[in-house]
Amino acid sequence: MIAHVAAAGERSGRVVLWLGGTSAASRFAIDAAMLMAQAFQAEVESLYVEDRQLFDLADFHFARAIGVSGGSWRPMPAATLEREMRFIAAALHRQVAEAGAAAGVQCHSRVVRDEPLRALFRACAENGPWNLVIVGEPIAPGDGARLSELFEKVRDTTGAVITGPLASRTRGPVVAVVEEFERLGPMLKAAQRLSAAIAGEVRLCIAGDRRDELAWMEGEARLLCADAAGGEEIASFESVLAANDDPAPLADVLRRHKPGFALAQYGGRLIAPDASLRPLTQALECPLLLVR
């Protein structure tokens, strides 16, 4: 739970920057990893996974690959594949190390040959007490199942940070979209710690499907914030009506507030497991921390 991350006095954990087997790691994902590490005094481990399945494919005589920008099919021998992966991993790790040096964050790098999700699961299981996964590749509308699988299989993560193809900033307010009252405190604390790292105000958005419930939650939220002695002030409270499995309110909040970082619940009414991520990818311009 995100509560692990936010609780004061908690032994520090790790931010795992999950770099798949491609070179498509987002600069904003790397920045998000550094911000999370700064906010929670954690280290960053960049994990480059050489997809074992690609080597299995390379053993076939008909194994071929084509560039994403088109062209023609080229044979894909294992040696070439290995060399390409080594170079990409080195370049990505250097990029992460430079970002870490600039942000004053300690970074480690690791290259493993495995299935991507299993590699992530193992990396998170090895260390604790908490891990935050930063998904290096920008998510695509069709990545709903992949994201669902991540939350399902990698149990030792408190959440995952995703970026979209339209990512363009990591500066601005921190917007926390809370659906359940019991998550309000931890998410608020996480948002406040992030806001200190990115020097942006915290805006709280409460989402629910009933007006009376929303009013009650907002009241409780205001009380909670008022009680938090020494806590940072919340710049704005907002309540939005949201039906089940309806990502539109979240997309609308992201468009209106133009946050530098956002927090939301994964598996709730706004981002349902296996749902299409298209509405989200159309609005997401900042890193989004999805908590279980």
Binding site: G20, G21, T22, S23, D51, Q53, L54, D56, L57, D59, F60, F62, A63, R64, A65, I66, G67, V68, S69, G70, G71, S72, W73, M76, L81, E84, M85, I88, A140, P141, G142, P165, L166, R255, R256, R278, T281, Q282, A283
Partner: protein
């Protein structure tokens, strides 16, 4: 020289004044050289004679008809130079191009003052000429078009254009940050960005049903046979019947062909995406640009060339709306408006010639007629990307004097041979063409921008000494031929009652202009005598207005030191003595050279 002859032609009055004033002067200026004792001999009877003279041949103060210059009507300008003034008035008044005037005379003879007052009288009755501005041509040459505007409208036109740019600097970033634009942009981006992903996703799902997977490789996409979500190992694959293996391979080949087709569409789709985004940007920017330029367009609708300029500017503004949306230096905005930012230099209207409401034709005097001062200057700035751009086109004297008069000193002009030659060409061609003399070796970026020539219609008034005239005749024949009228100021004029009275009026004018104490009649008589001695010829006066001014001001100072309310002959004599050593040294230098 005026005072060169003064020493040998000392007058009685001057001698008396000198005797009286000498001790006082010695007190005031202890370092001054001792003044030579005035001669007591009577003046030579042959020198100088004429109006207002007494039996001694000196000016009779009593006959001048006033006690002090306070009683005299002030007279401006030279004395006794009627022929020169007539020629000047005639030459300056002749309409049409090509009739330029040469004013010749000794220094201090009042040529400049006479030329200025004569030209002012004529120019004030003339029609104000049209204004001229330079605006960007907005074509690939990066040149400038000349626009002719009604008199007095160039500055308002430039200000309104700058105001429009300021408006856009506020409006465009807001428009592009607005939610409706954002939504439209996203819609286009999404449509194109994900059309390929959608196609690949559909293909992936279809492949899955056939136990085939699309995998992401480090550099692209690959297709693999899978079983229960995992890529099949080769030994497993080889263990299945050959017919089945061939079937899988065929399916893989078909999928590869489809993937290739999807990816091949990308450049076309990208082109279309860019076109649609551009159209959207132009739609948003166009609305604001039209609104910002509307006032200018309606106000200058009847002026030829303005509409086409505004159309070109609008097109360029829309195309380059990104300039306004780019991250800007807010701190910079506090000290300068957007219009003055070098980024927007190409929208600047450069005022080259304009006149104020009360003026007639312009009269421009250029003391230093270099090429830049005559033809203007172009200031170029280099931006962060190393691109040079014109940030300012500064008018020269030709632009400012266009439609009126340009007054130049011959010596200064002849000392700048390149400028003189360019001026002659401009007057011959009747246009101001910016083509400065440049070094044959240049560096990239310092090319002279192409400025459309501006029609030139002015009258050139060149003021020369006899020596300058000789230089002009000897070495600049083609320039000399431009002068159809000559106003010659004489060294010495006839001493008549009228000229003496006018000289008294001139001295009164000097006293008035420089706020000096009134000068008594004896003092004025002394100055007249000096003018007579300067002439060195019977019945003549040689008047240097500049020297008169110097002497009157020095005498006023002396009178002030003596706490006198009126400048006396003694003060004048004292001032003449103070003035003479300098004049003599100068004369000696002239003779030596």
């Amino acid at each position: 020289m005026f005072f060169k002859r003064f020493r040998s032609d000392k007058s009685k009055a001057a001698a008396a004044a000198e005797t009286d004033a000498a001790p006082e002067a010695a007190d005031e200026t202890p370092s001054a050289e001792p003044v030579t004792a005035p001669p007591t001999d009577p003046p030579e009877p042959t020198l100088p004679l004429g109006a207002h003279t007494n039996s001694s041949g000196l000016t009779d103060a009593a006959s001048l008809g006033f006690k002090t210059t306070a009683d005299v009507k002030a007279v401006a300008g030279p004395v006794g130079q009627e022929a020169a003034l007539e020629a000047l008035t005639f030459g300056a008044g002749v309409k049409g191009p090509g009739y330029h005037v040469l004013v010749v005379g000794p220094e201090g003879s009042g040529r400049h003052t006479a030329a200025r007052s004569t030209l002012q009288a004529i120019a004030s009755k003339m029609e104000r000429p049209a204004d001229w501005v330079y605006v960007s041509s907005f074509d690939p040459t990066g040149g400038f078009r000349a626009l002719k505007l009604p008199a007095g409208t160039a500055k308002p036109f430039a200000e309104k254009m700058a105001h429009a740019i300021d408006e856009l600097a506020d409006a465009l970033p807001a428009a592009f940050a607005a939610d409706d634009y954002d939504l439209k942009r996203r819609t286009i981006e999404e449509e194109f960005r994900f059309s390929r992903e959608d196609a690949l996703e559909a293909l992936r799902r279809e492949a899955e049903t056939q136990n085939i997977a699309l995998l992401r490789t480090p550099a692209g996409i690959a297709v693999a046979p899978v079983l229960e979500g995992k890529v099949v190992k080769t030994d497993v694959f080889n263990s299945i019947p050959e017919a089945l293996r061939r079937e899988v391979e065929t399916k893989i080949a078909a999928l590869e062909a489809e993937i290739e087709a999807i990816l091949a569409e990308r450049p076309e789709a990208e082109k279309e995406r860019r076109a649609r985004l551009l159209a959207l940007n132009e739609q948003i920017a166009g609305r604001h640009v039209r609104a910002a330029l509307d006032d200018l367009k309606s106000e200058f609708a009847d002026v030829a060339g303005v509409e086409s300029f505004l159309k070109a500017a609008a097109r360029d503004l829309v195309r380059n709306a990104g300039l306004f949306v780019a991250r800007e230096d807010r701190a910079g905005r506090l000290v300068q408006t957007a219009a003055t930012h070098p980024r927007f230099a190409r929208y600047c209207v450069h005022v080259m010639a304009t006149t104020s409401a009360a003026s007639g034709a312009p009269i421009v005097q250029e003391a230093n007629p270099t090429y830049a001062n005559l033809f203007g200057r172009v200031e170029v700035s280099t931006d962060a990307e190393g691109q040079s751009q014109v940030v300012r086109v500064k008018p020269g004297a030709l632009h400012r004097a266009n439609g009126g008069y340009l007054v130049l000193d011959a010596d200064a002009l002849l000392n700048s041979a390149a400028a003189a030659d360019a001026l002659r060409r401009a007057l011959d061609a009747g246009e101001i063409r910016f083509d400065p003399p440049t070094s044959p070796i240049s560096v990239a970026g310092d090319e002279v921008p192409d400025l459309e020539p501006i029609p030139l219609n002015l009258k050139l008034i060149v003021i020369a000494t006899a020596e300058a005239l000789r230089r002009l005749n000897a070495g600049h024949g083609s320039l000399r031929r431009l002068f159809k009228a000559e106003a010659v100021f004489e060294d010495a004029i006839a001493r008549t009652q009228e000229t003496v009275d006018r000289l008294a009026g001139l001295i009164a004018n000097i006293a008035e202009t420089y706020a000096l104490r009134p000068i008594d009649a004896e003092g004025v008589a002394l100055i007249v005598d000096e003018a007579a001695r300067r002439a060195g010829v019977k019945g003549k006066l040689s008047i240097s207005i500049a020297d008169c001014v110097d002497v009157c001001r020095a005498a006023d100072h002396i009178a002030g030191s003596g706490k006198r309310d009126v400048v006396t002959a003694e003060d004048i004599a004292h001032a003449l003595r103070q003035h003479s050593p300098r004049a003599e040294a100068s004369a000696a230098f002239s003779e030596a050279s």
